[in-house]
Symmetry: C2
Subunit: 206 residues, 2 copies
């Protein structure tokens, strides 16, 4: 624990995470467009040299901010399987003040990924594919027939992202909320035709 | 027609539109992030002074490019009322090579609108509100009950935008196409319950 090398390494690694979180907060407030190592150093309160020591280049820092933000936007890691309204829970989280900051930066990152930025594009693609797979698995656990789960998950996530962008851009809470309620009603109607998970006939051999 | 002042004005205005179209092509290929009057002047083949004469500032040029692009992305101006598959037509247009260029730049613009850019934000908001109103009116013409038309239009446009971004980012044509087909099937099912326009009881007094 008190070995020089390990202690120094631990201190550096601790500081690195701290610097990354502070830089991410900066990006959540101001986007990535004007981000520079010098500006982040100033905001975070570390020297430019320290930042270069930790992240080498602005691109590396941006990549790590992007990973952090993509992991946390529309994430469903701790959604309880017995949540009676999982879609409502996702929506409530995403439209909270903190949720909106993440969706805002996620949308900005997606915009940056559109032209000549394969690194960002790959990161956003991975994030979308992971969320789609997670949601499709969740839908299957709720009784959705497997053949339609990926298409439905893709469509649901697209609608949620689209509604959130509409909300962030137009600030029209009432219209977007009504559209979300319409989506939830339609999903309820659709899922009411699914077999109750675990209530079906016992598979042969089990 | 040959008056000096009018002739000169016409020539300038003609040239202005030409320059704007060429600058928009540049943005469709490369986005707005690296756009500068100097770069556009170079690409379009006019002098920097001419560009300043026409558009004064980069912001003014960007504003006009944005207006052009927002008018043409997911636009439904000439969609025939008797189109048997209006959603399919919108999708086919949006996913054509030219359609994708516009959606790509629209997505980049929306990303830029996320932080500290009220001018872009207002432009994107206006575009979204206009499209929502247009689509809601179209849905009503197809028999959708008025009270649910705006919510459904908001949700449909969000899904379309979300699916197109997924497609542009992941390139996963098969999965996104399946999600679009799922959306179209659900809309068909839903609209089959709507009264056929014109087939209802004649309103009293008409």
């Amino acid at each position: 624990m008190n070995g020089y090398v390990d202690g120094r390494k631990l201190r550096f690694e601790h500081r690195r995470g701290e610097v990354l979180r502070a830089a991410t907060e900066h990006a959540l407030d101001h986007g990535l467009a004007g981000l520079s190592l010098r500006k982040v150093a100033q905001t975070v309160g570390v020297s430019h040299a320290t930042l270069v020591h930790h992240f080498s280049t602005k691109d590396q820092l941006v990549a790590e901010i992007v990973d952090l933000v993509l992991t946390q936007s529309l994430a469903l890691p701790d959604l309880a399987d017995d949540d009676p309204e999982p879609l409502g829970t996702i929506w409530r989280r995403a439209t909270s003040d903190q949720g909106r900051r993440y969706i805002r930066l996620f949308t900005a990152i997606t915009g940056h990924a559109m032209h000549d930025n394969p690194m960002l594009r790959d990161a956003v693609a991975r994030s979308m594919q992971q969320r789609t797979a997670l949601l499709a698995a969740g839908l299957v656990r709720h009784g959705c027939p497997e053949p339609e789960a990926v298409a439905l998950a893709t469509s649901l996530l697209s609608t949620l992202r689209g509604l959130l962008v509409d909300l962030l851009v137009t600030d029209d809470e009432k219209r977007v909320r009504a559209a979300f309620d319409d989506l939830a009603t339609e999903l309820d109607r659709r899922s009411s035709a699914w077999p109750t998970p675990g209530a079906g006939p016992t598979p042969a051999g089990s």
